[in-house]
């Protein structure tokens, strides 16, 4: 009996990592970035692609960051030209599939920034997945589209 239990425990222990791999280990974070925003902007957003290598679906259920007082999961809906941003409880990531967090869609909303986000800065994010596992991500701050070769305080300069 004891032997059987021990064997069971052993097999369970060896099986666990393969069968129950944490969602955080199965999800690959591709090209994360946060958006540079004007100095007085109260909020910014972080974007990335979440690729799930595992064969069970998961979801991003929370995120935390070191640059904002509040970090929330949001999405955008567009209805008849109306842009509607809404918090979501989870961002699903299908098995063997991927979900994009991108402008105009899902994003990690960084609210009440502790300091302005400038290109070159880094945002440290902690992502929490459906099974409770977490993943640390470093997202570089990237300029807003069309603002890539601009310099701060350099008004009206020509290109």
């Amino acid at each position: 009996m004891k032997k059987t239990l021990a064997a069971l425990a052993l097999s369970a222990a060896t099986c666990l990592p393969a069968a129950w791999a944490a969602d955080a280990d199965q999800v690959q974070v591709i090209a994360p970035y946060a958006r540079a925003v004007p100095p007085t902007a109260p909020a910014s957003a972080a974007f990335m692609t979440l690729r799930n290598r595992g064969d069970h679906a998961t979801a991003l259920i929370a995120a935390d960051s070191d640059v904002a007082e509040i970090t929330e999961l949001h999405t955008h809906a567009h209805e008849n030209g109306m842009m509607m941003m809404r918090p979501v409880a989870r961002i699903p990531v299908p098995a063997k599939g991927e979900t994009q967090l991108k402008p105009g869609g899902y994003h990690i909303m960084l609210i009440r920034l502790k300091h302005p986000l400038k290109p070159g800065d880094k945002v440290h994010l902690t992502l929490r997945f459906a099974d409770g596992s977490t993943k640390a991500v470093t997202a570089p701050v990237r300029p807003i589209n069309g603002m890539s070769h601009m310099h701060h305080g350099n008004m009206h300069h020509a290109h």
Binding site: A41, G81, M82, M83, M84, P87, G104, L110, G146, H152
Partner: protein, 201 residues
Amino acid sequence: MRKPVLALIVVIAAAVAAGLFARQKFHAGSTLTARPTGGDFTLQSSRGPVSLHDFRGKVVLLYFGYTYCPDICPTSLGNLSAAWRMLPPDLRDQVQILFVSVDPKRDTPERLQQYADFFNARIIGLTADKATLDDVVRRYGAVYRIVPVKESRVGYLVDHSAFTYVIDRNGRLITQIPHGTPPKEIVRTLMPLLTHKEDTP
């Protein structure tokens, strides 16, 4: 007998389609509205009141948004300012971008101007009391609504249409540019409205 009826149906269908198209062009929000009239307005900037008629002789690009918007507004303003910078300097002087915040509770004219300055395109930030804003928004065919969101700790969010309204040198509303229009296309929309040196004898 058959043929005239058919022809009539075709004519009616074409008229309906044309009407729909014309309305579609200025369609924003959940209801189809009549073609917006645009017109003059006076709003508050960090340096005091600013009116549309202050910019007679210039083409005005009018955009409604709010600074809590982390995505849609910076994208639109980024594209508008990039388009502005693509213009030769003499044509830049003929274009004024106005960013109107529909969130006056959080966006003071001062904060708004600092936000606008970031885009390096001489954008002027404007806002006003709700009644004044609502009137301008309605006349330009824009829509917004303040949405209290329990699930978000921001308190409330602002749904808004994201068109840029193009106003010609005489203060007339000409067209609207959809969200996500690349800078080059914005320039293409602007060019026919500007005075080019070679035009003037």
